[in-house]
Symmetry: D2
């Protein structure tokens, strides 16, 4: 599973949270590397808001702990609202296009989880992406397709509905293919600084799915 962090508050240098905290994300990755827990070495990503409307993005496939660019950027980029994500691939290739966070206009999205049986559903899922969003399909991850489908389903105007309907579509597909593995979905969505923002800090679909196979418990 992936790890992530999201920060909102007074503007700080990214390093203060990425590197300097005892339980910082990089520190955790490094601990993971040294000891008893899952290591996250399949790509790293940052997304941050500043004076620009759309967020800044930085994606890298080197392990976060050995990326000299990340060290310098985190010392020099200051933000009051940023995401960081360390990827532990669930199967898709390690390249920058597959690193979180994903962005669309002034939105950022990152995801921890997995669509059960994704490889057998990718064809169907990609076909649900409408033409006007297809140029935003840069990589091949389940996370990116979930994000694009949520946008297609109205994330910008009615996010609760868009999320519910998208997860429901995916669960239906999984049901048709008789996939037993769960849909795991914990995600953070973000629009820019001055707009209302919201997040679903923990929304694991496992229970919902195995219990009722329906998203109504959302």
């Amino acid at each position: 599973m992936c790890r992530w962090m999201a920060y909102q508050g007074d503007p700080v240098y990214l390093e203060s949270l990425l590197f300097k905290q005892e339980h910082s994300l990089i520190h955790q990755s490094l601990s993971a590397r040294k000891s008893e827990v899952t290591v996250n070495a399949d790509g790293f990503g940052l997304g941050w808001y500043d004076e620009r409307e759309e967020p800044g993005l930085y994606h890298e496939v080197l392990p976060a702990w050995s990326d000299s660019n990340l060290k310098s950027l985190a010392r020099h980029i200051k933000s009051g609202l940023f995401f960081a994500h360390v990827r532990s691939s669930t199967g898709t290739e390690t390249n920058r296009s597959n690193c979180h966070p994903f962005s669309y206009k002034n939105w950022l999205f990152m995801h921890n989880g997995q669509i059960g049986g994704y490889e057998s559903l990718r064809w169907q899922l990609d076909r649900l992406i409408p033409e006007h969003l297809y140029s935003h399909r840069h990589g091949a991850t389940d996370s990116e397709v979930i994000f694009l489908l949520m946008i297609a389903n109205g994330l910008e105007t009615n996010p609760e509905y868009a999320i519910e309907i998208t997860l429901s579509q995916i669960l239906d597909m999984m049901k048709q293919k008789n996939i037993k593995d769960p849909l795991r979905f914990t995600a953070v969505f973000q629009t820019e600084k001055k707009s209302p923002r919201f997040a679903f800090p923990v929304m694991n679909w496992h229970q919902a799915y195995t219990a009722s196979n329906s998203p109504s418990t959302l």
Copy 2:
């Protein structure tokens, strides 16, 4: 435009053709780098046949002239049938998934050219890929989708027909979108060592397209 080479003959170390010839591919890239012609620095690829049925593959995004792995591999890999390709991107991202040659079972494919207006056609083109081939859609290039559509159209049993019908499909799509840029297509197809093999050393669609908008002049 990309550059490539294809070799068939007595088994040789790849370096004898990649590095040691005066007009070798790497030498050309390096010349390109130094002087008057297009440089090819958006990825490199090798595909070679040996005792295995399916070809070996090596893709790298570093410029070919500065890839130490390539130097050593070319000194140690011997083949009587291999492809090398230096990419000059026509727009798609530089990552390994977008490097030629592409492979499918015991087939190799590499392509020099471009689908005019590709970005506006990608959605439609990807939807033509049948479900059973979709797991072979690793990247986002026009070249890869052309190859997969040719396989879908029977490349393995009737290659001439598969190529003709695929190019015709693409040209129709371009016509519907009123795309003025040509479809440029020069490609090499290859099956493994002991099977019959064939190639279309030069098949530029420009003439055909602007003249008759039909593949009948193939």
Copy 3:
């Protein structure tokens, strides 16, 4: 030869100079790639000053025109004093440690040129680096060793002298080895924002060396 730019003035987003000018550095690299001039594809680097004392650094081995991180960083990083450098290697490996600009404390350095016969002098040159500076020898370029020797020779307190004496040391070494190729040296040095700064926009050693073999014409 490498290309570079240095900017000092009102704070601007880096993209305004890196990407948006008709003759921007990236535009030049891309032109180089397409046509009649040397291409620069052996690494890219940025160094910029902001509120921190020491400069920010970003080094990448991908060609600048296909680096998605660079595009986003240049849209979000604002500076009134920054360097950008596109490398065309004179022999040393393409990796991040060999990309300009180099930094030391609050100094930035970038260099266009070459020590003639460098490979045969590297052993001697590295031995001149004093112990306390050796942890700053990250890569293997002639540029980095020149910078470290200038620091050793007092760059921080008497830069003119440090530069002169260092170039003189190197020329002596070249003389002893009877190296005919010139020492080419065009460089920019920079300390942080509020301090005095200076540069040697063009200081090609070729003339000096072939004429008098002495740095007295500096």
Copy 4:
């Protein structure tokens, strides 16, 4: 600590040992990634002998489990004598120049261990490398400098002596700097196929050093 394997026997495809064994190196890395042990994600390397005198080399900074080139190379390269090494950095940068195995002429070397206090000794150690070997100093690791010093001390003609004297030199240096951390050294040396070969499968210096501070117990 790093992990490695060395194989000598009937020629086999590398994948049969790298990927297909239950306890293969890649499998171990992947297990490490998933669970309770140190993960090795700071670079990977292969060295293999074939008909050429000098070994083939492949170094990559991507985690071994997500390197598509490695998968294909391991399916196509056959050898009766090869090394594989997964690096877990003890501090030096993650780049290809720092990946094992290292080679010199027809020799291969890989190392698991660490020179205690290496960063404070690097200056002195590098100065021991004789001029004629300095062009083989590609990276910055302690492993590479150990290998070059052993060559300088006669590895090619009297390996036992060269190893002993080199470790002794390093221990003396550590003593002078009053370094408490041990010198850990487990290494494999190899010359080409048809020559006599030897290895030190386990030679941990910890005991020797803490016990007697002398290499006499070798």
